[in-house]
């Protein structure tokens, strides 16, 4: 078991290193992808003008056609799968040897988990502690998604930069909030709450509930995309000398961590309001 997981880690590291080495080059970069059903490795001529470059950053293309108008954005899905693989591997490495006296990896995991455990308990109460795994997972996923853009591999963009990912997370959070509210209060009391102060407030309450999901997903999307565009513009102005490192530290690490935490806290407080 131990050897297997170490081998898997080594294989992932080797893939990253090979992809990085292959894509070294100033004028063109190499990208893996699926094109019309076939796996291709090809050169992409990098655009000179900054307007074209920002346009290129916006349209992460590499669409896989499934059927009809249904397509999958492979360049986003690839990074999401990589994040998932990383999280699963981390969990497997931690779970492999659990001791009463924790090792280094177990201490990190326990610190993160117990922080969110105490947060959940002081927000929604002791008897609702079954929310902890969901809250913890959503934080870790968004956090890794936000800071993975700092690894300098071409095509390794933050998945949260695409609007579909935060919107999916927001819809998921709305479903969890309303399901737990119905489960807690019963359907009658839940529906009655929409007409709470006066009966004609019903449309405003419905729109308010929908706006919660849109608001948290657009906040995450706008922060990450704005930081990415600022990094791109400033790096182009300074010819990629030293300043982008500090910008990456601020926009990647700080803003990424804060926004992941804010998303998690808002989902938690929406849940606490809904089930009260």
């Amino acid at each position: 078991m131990k050897k297997k997981s170490k081998k898997a880690l080594l294989i992932i590291l080797a893939i990253i290193i090979i992809e990085g080495i292959l894509s070294i080059g100033l004028d063109h970069e190499l990208q893996f992808g699926f094109d019309e059903g076939k796996f291709v490795i090809r050169n992409i001529e990098s655009e000179k003008s900054i307007q074209d470059q920002i346009n290129h950053e916006f349209q992460q293309y590499h669409m896989i056609k499934l059927f009809g108008k249904f397509t999958i954005n492979w360049s986003v899905l690839r990074v999401i799968l990589f994040v998932d693989l990383f999280l699963i591997l981390f969990a497997a490495l931690v779970r492999r040897k659990m001791h009463l006296i924790p090792g280094k990896l177990q201490i990190v995991a326990e610190m993160l988990y117990s922080f969110f455990y105490s947060l959940v308990i002081e927000t929604v109460g002791e008897e609702k502690k079954y929310f902890t795994p969901y809250i913890f997972t959503i934080f870790v996923f968004i956090w890794i998604c936000n800071i993975i853009g700092m690894i300098p591999i071409p095509g390794n963009l933050e998945p949260t930069r695409n609007l579909n990912v935060p919107l999916g997370l927001g819809i998921m959070a709305l479903v969890v909030v309303h399901y737990s509210a119905i489960k807690e209060k019963g359907i009658g009391l839940y529906l009655k709450e929409y007409a709470e102060p006066l009966a004609f407030m019903l449309p405003i309450n419905v729109v308010g509930e929908l706006a919660k999901g849109i608001s948290i997903s657009f906040r995450l999307f706008g922060n990450i995309l704005g930081g990415a565009i600022i990094i791109l513009v400033v790096s182009n102005l300074t010819r990629f000398i030293l300043i982008p490192v500090g910008l990456n530290l601020f926009f990647g690490l700080f803003i990424g961590t804060v926004q992941a935490f804010v998303f998690t806290m808002l989902v938690l407080s929406y849940t606490a309001v809904a089930i009260k």
Partner: protein, 79 residues
């Protein structure tokens, strides 16, 4: 000619949108940080909780600025 006028109006609108949209979050975030500073000065043992609450409040009040950023990006790239 007409499309150029529309493009110029969209770019101008993006600038105005971002400029006015940044006023509110600036005031709000500064006010929140100042109040948090006062709270920490009054009770330094609650500094962690106050900082956490301050960050969440700032991010919420920042959202109007983010909306104006999204709208100005739409004006620049989608019009």
């Amino acid at each position: 000619m007409e499309s150029e006028i529309i493009r110029a109006a969209a770019l101008l609108g993006a600038g105005i949108c971002m400029g006015f949209g940044a006023i509110g979050p600036g005031i709000g975030e500064g006010f929140t940080a100042g109040k948090a500073c006062e709270g920490i000065a009054r009770s330094p043992e609650n500094a962690g909780l106050l900082t956490r609450t301050m960050l969440v409040g700032q991010a919420v009040s920042e959202s109007t600025g983010i909306y104006s950023l999204v709208i100005s990006l739409l004006l620049i790239f989608a019009v």
